[in-house]
Amino acid sequence: MSDVCPEASLPTCFPDIVYYSSTSENTLRFVERLGLPAKRIPISPKVTGPVIDRPFVLICPTYADGEGRGAVPKQVIRLLNDPDTRALLRGVIGSGNRNFGTLFASAGDVIARKCNVPLLYKFELAGFDNDIARVRAGLEQMGRNLGLAQMGDAPCSTMA
């Protein structure tokens, strides 16, 4: 259950997706429905994280304590503490539940601020159909932009 890679063989415009999902697996279900290649950050600190060597977007659920502390899971912080990985981060998508009020998906806000990358989107739980459609379209657009600007070695299939 670690990698969701249904279309891994397709050279697309999409940036890589890296995500964390705890044992409740809402984020995993969201990523599965996106249907794009994605790498999961392991829950267990003993397992080594995925190799990240292309520009990527991070999808991260929120586990704050009520004051906003601890919103970003430790496993995700550990990944982002690596400067080489961090240099490839192009944006973040936060998830959570609106019922947490002002802290809704605040992991997205925290990562965007700490890493100085755009907060691209927020969704609840495993996401709804419109979230899936918007995120897919947004990532495709973003990948196209990145492909032009920064990814000479990974050309977009849609460009001649």
Binding site: N26, D65, E67, N81, N97, V110, L120, D129, G138
Partner: protein, 323 residues
């Protein structure tokens, strides 16, 4: 002496040996969330209450008595009924916290009443709730599954529907008032309840999934069928309840959209797919903003590349970050 052998002595709970990390994670979140209604300055809503029309006051009090009933059920029957089914001692401890907070929720509606309303109005509304067929029907449907001897996993399904679906025909109204700058302190209190219910629905749903995954495929399918059919049953009742309450103020359709949205979230808490498509479950922006103030628009994809918003200030503890 002769009964002594039948007494089951529980294992002393050791929080330093966890079988499921979620138990501690949720315990921590629930305990830091602890609150009491006295914390919220409800009396600041007295001038706002005075601006409501009589039928709007009646509606509001009725909605709150309906919510009181659900919290009472979850406090005295629902959460305690889950305790014997707990798989870990820590789960049982978490459920005692859930049960107690339901008592706080039920109690806090009475704080709102004593601050804003006359005794006569409140007594009338409680009488209404005891006689309202839809409210009684949903209570009965839930209590049937909670009854001793029933399937523990079905009990969790019903509990998640109560926590994550049935409350929302009621929660809609204070969110609506808040979006019109009315009863804003009451809305603050309701948001504390809503936050607690989110953790309750998440946790019970999570334990449901852990239990269900141990079952053979056919039994899993049967539980899933049961969940959707119970949801339909409750949904029918909620529709009628909603019409009866909200037709006069003209909000029935908007409330129904909110019901669909929350039904989808309840199903996701159980690990199932959403049922209602976006066309009927996209809640209007004012209500979403009332639920999660200061965070309405999160679709920055749709803007041009340069209009991305870099995250706004949120409290973080820096000890874990290396940079």
């Amino acid at each position: 002496m002769k009964d002594m052998t039948d007494i089951r002595i529980p294992r002393a709970i050791n929080w330093n040996r966890l079988e499921d990390d979620k138990d501690l994670e949720v315990w921590n979140r629930l305990t830091v969330n602890f609150w009491l209604p006295e914390k919220v300055p409800l009396s600041n809503d007295i001038p706002s209450w005075a601006t409501l029309k009589d039928f709007e006051k009646t509606l509001t009090i009725r909605v709150f008595t309906g919510l009181t009933l659900l919290d009472t059920i979850q406090n005295t029957v629902g959460a305690p009924s889950l305790m014997p089914d707990a798989v870990t001692p820590h789960e049982e401890a978490v459920l005692t916290n859930v049960a107690f907070m339901e008592a706080v929720h039920a109690r806090s509606y009475s704080s709102i009443f004593s601050t804003l309303c006359s005794t006569k109005e409140v007594d009338e509304a409680f009488r209404w709730s005891e006689e309202n067929p839809h409210l009684q029907a949903k209570a009965r449907a839930i209590l049937e599954t909670y009854a001793p001897g029933n399937d523990p996993l079905k009990r969790k399904i019903a509990s998640v529907f109560l926590e994550s679906f049935l409350f929302y025909s009621g929660f809609y109204l204070p969110m609506y008032w808040s979006s019109r700058a009315k009863l804003t302190n009451t809305a603050d209190l309701i948001r504390l309840i809503i936050r607690d219910e989110a953790v309750h629905g998440y946790y019970i749903g999570y334990k449901f999934q852990r239990g269900m995954e141990k079952l053979p495929e056919a039994e899993q399918q049967a539980l899933k069928d049961y969940a959707y059919s119970l949801l339909f049953e409750l949904y029918e009742i909620e529709n009628q309840y909603t019409e009866e309450l909200y037709d006069e103020i003209g909000l029935t359709e908007d409330v129904k959209t909110f019901l669909h949205y929350n039904a989808n979230k309840a199903l996701q808490n159980l690990g199932f797919e959403a049922l209602f498509p976006p066309e009927v479950s996209e809640v209007n922006a004012a209500i979403l903003a009332a639920l999660s103030p200061d965070s309405e628009n999160h679709d920055f994809f749709s803007g041009s590349g340069s209009s991305y918003v870099i995250g706004k200030a949120v409290a973080t503890e820096d000890e874990d970050w290396d940079f």
